[in-house]
Amino acid sequence: MSAWETVIGLEIHAQLATKSKIFSGSATAYGAPPNTQADLVDLAYPGVLPVLNAQAVQMAVKFGLAIGAAVAHRSVFARKNYFYPDLPKGYQISQYELPVVARGSLKVMLEDGTVKNIGITRAHLEEDAGKSLHEGLANATGIDLNRAGTPLLEIVSEPDMRSAKEAVAYMKKIHTLVRYLQICDGNMQEGSFRCDANVSVRPKGREKFGTRAEIKNLNSFRFVEKAIQYEIARQIELIESGGTVVQETRLYDSDKDETRSMRSKEEANDYRYFPDPDLLPLEIDSAFIEAVRATLPELPDEKAARFAGAFALSAYDAGVLSASRELGAYFESVVSGLTANSGSAKLAANWVMGELSSALNRDNLDIADSRVSAAQLTGLLLRIADETISGKIAKEVFEAMWSSGQTADAIIEAKGLRQITDSGAIEAVIDAVIAANPKQLADYRAGKDKLFGFFVGQVMKATSGKANPAQLNELLKTKLAGAEHA
């Protein structure tokens, strides 16, 4: 095993889902034409001043409560000074010494099923910068300030992660949490949820941290994992060949699957932080905090624990089904519809995690846009539970429901898919099949047990798959064994 230990900390920037920006009344909606959502405050015109958005504060407090952190009764906005074209004021309004949310933690389930407690150092409010665009501009860059001023919650983890996979698990948990809390839509393609990874290595057993490199702006779980893996390997190789790791900012190139140094930021920036004199200290009293606490939904861990207990699900399955509030609600709706009619939660769990998830993934849809509603799925599963159709047929029905939008019953009716449960009818088909296949019968009776499947297949073919499998098996076994058909 490796003589090296990896130390990883993540800084996650979550765009808060407010309607207007953190310090101005401009809209925050994604995708508007360039600079159409940038008012004088966002453009840093001479004479403009910031005024703080209440909802951004509520969302930050909500997050703090959800991670069990102390919410600061007094926090201060500070200016982080540096020059960059997407930063119109020449400083970013952020929080430095006194952030709104102090230390908290999150339980993260790793791949092997163990649960690790990851510390969160702090979370603070700040504003997002604009965007730089290079396409179509010869030797120039175009600046779009629509994004400038969108509220961000910067969530800083303790350097508690020890592998790329742990880092991704933590990032996914935060992603789930912010969506649960409805404070961030988590849309990584649109840049609502971004991650910087601080990575360092040290000889196993050493306490002192190695020098870390920061990999900026990773916007997918996959890239986070690959970038960290590359970086770990790079640092180890560097040190083992006699070099030293430089503290620097790096970018991940997903085409080449490598990280490289950011040239423009290679000089250490002196941000000259000082309290922003255009804003007064943010004071949050107990009444404000309690009002926010009252809006907390059931959190992911709570929901997973409840599912596991109430529906006898494994921790893993409960975790999957509670990955989002919408999925959890869908699942619960199906469960309640089933169990009211003596169906099982397990059936619901299997189908939601199985067929439904596959269909959603295949068509790139969120649960909210599912082509089969919870009620419709319930309808389908009830038909399995009451043996109207077999599980196998149900899959066919599901696909038909997905593409047509019709209910299970309508499709079963239209396609005549009811299961055949009449023993006499099944027997008759079995008899016909046996009669038509004397050689196989003889071979089976001579010991080729595998041919059982052949007969099953033939009966299913003859009944268009509608024979009740359990009954078919029973009757076939008897008939194949029996000496009635000499």
Binding site: T18, K19, S20, S24, G25, S26, A27, P33, P34, N35, T36, Q37, A38, D39, L40, L43, Y45, V51, L52, N53, A54, Q55, A56, V57, R74, V76, F77, F83, Y84, P85, S132, L133, H134, G136, L137, N139, A140, T141, G142, I143, D144, L145, L251, M262, R263, S264, D270, R272, F274, P275, P277, L279, L280, P281, L282, E283
Partner: protein
């Protein structure tokens, strides 16, 4: 505690200000004299008093309702801009 030319170059770079060769000695002198002047502060005994960032000590930040109050005026605002293309503010190519 005077400033050196190097100090001034570093500060000017942080502040993104071009200083010509001719101007440099003048800035070194005047900035040094300003820094010497404010150095008096370093000798002041302030005990354990808290810093005061604001004359409105004891007041706190007002919150505004989360409403969209602004609409698009980019055409008007961009009349002031030195270089605009397709609604974007144009600067020399920024390398990452």
């Amino acid at each position: 505690m005077s400033l050196t030319r190097q100090d001034v170059e570093k500060i000017a770079h942080l502040a993104r200000l071009s200083i010509t060769e001719q101007e440099m000695p003048v800035y070194v002198t005047s900035l040094s004299s300003i820094v010497d002047f404010v150095d008096e502060l370093s000798r002041a005994d302030v005990g354990s008093v808290l810093p005061m960032a604001h004359p409105l000590d004891g007041q706190h930040q007002r919150l505004r309702a989360d409403e969209v109050t602004q609409s698009d005026h980019h055409a008007k605002y961009q009349l002031n801009a030195p270089a605009v293309a397709a609604g974007l503010y144009v600067v020399p190519r920024v390398l990452d």
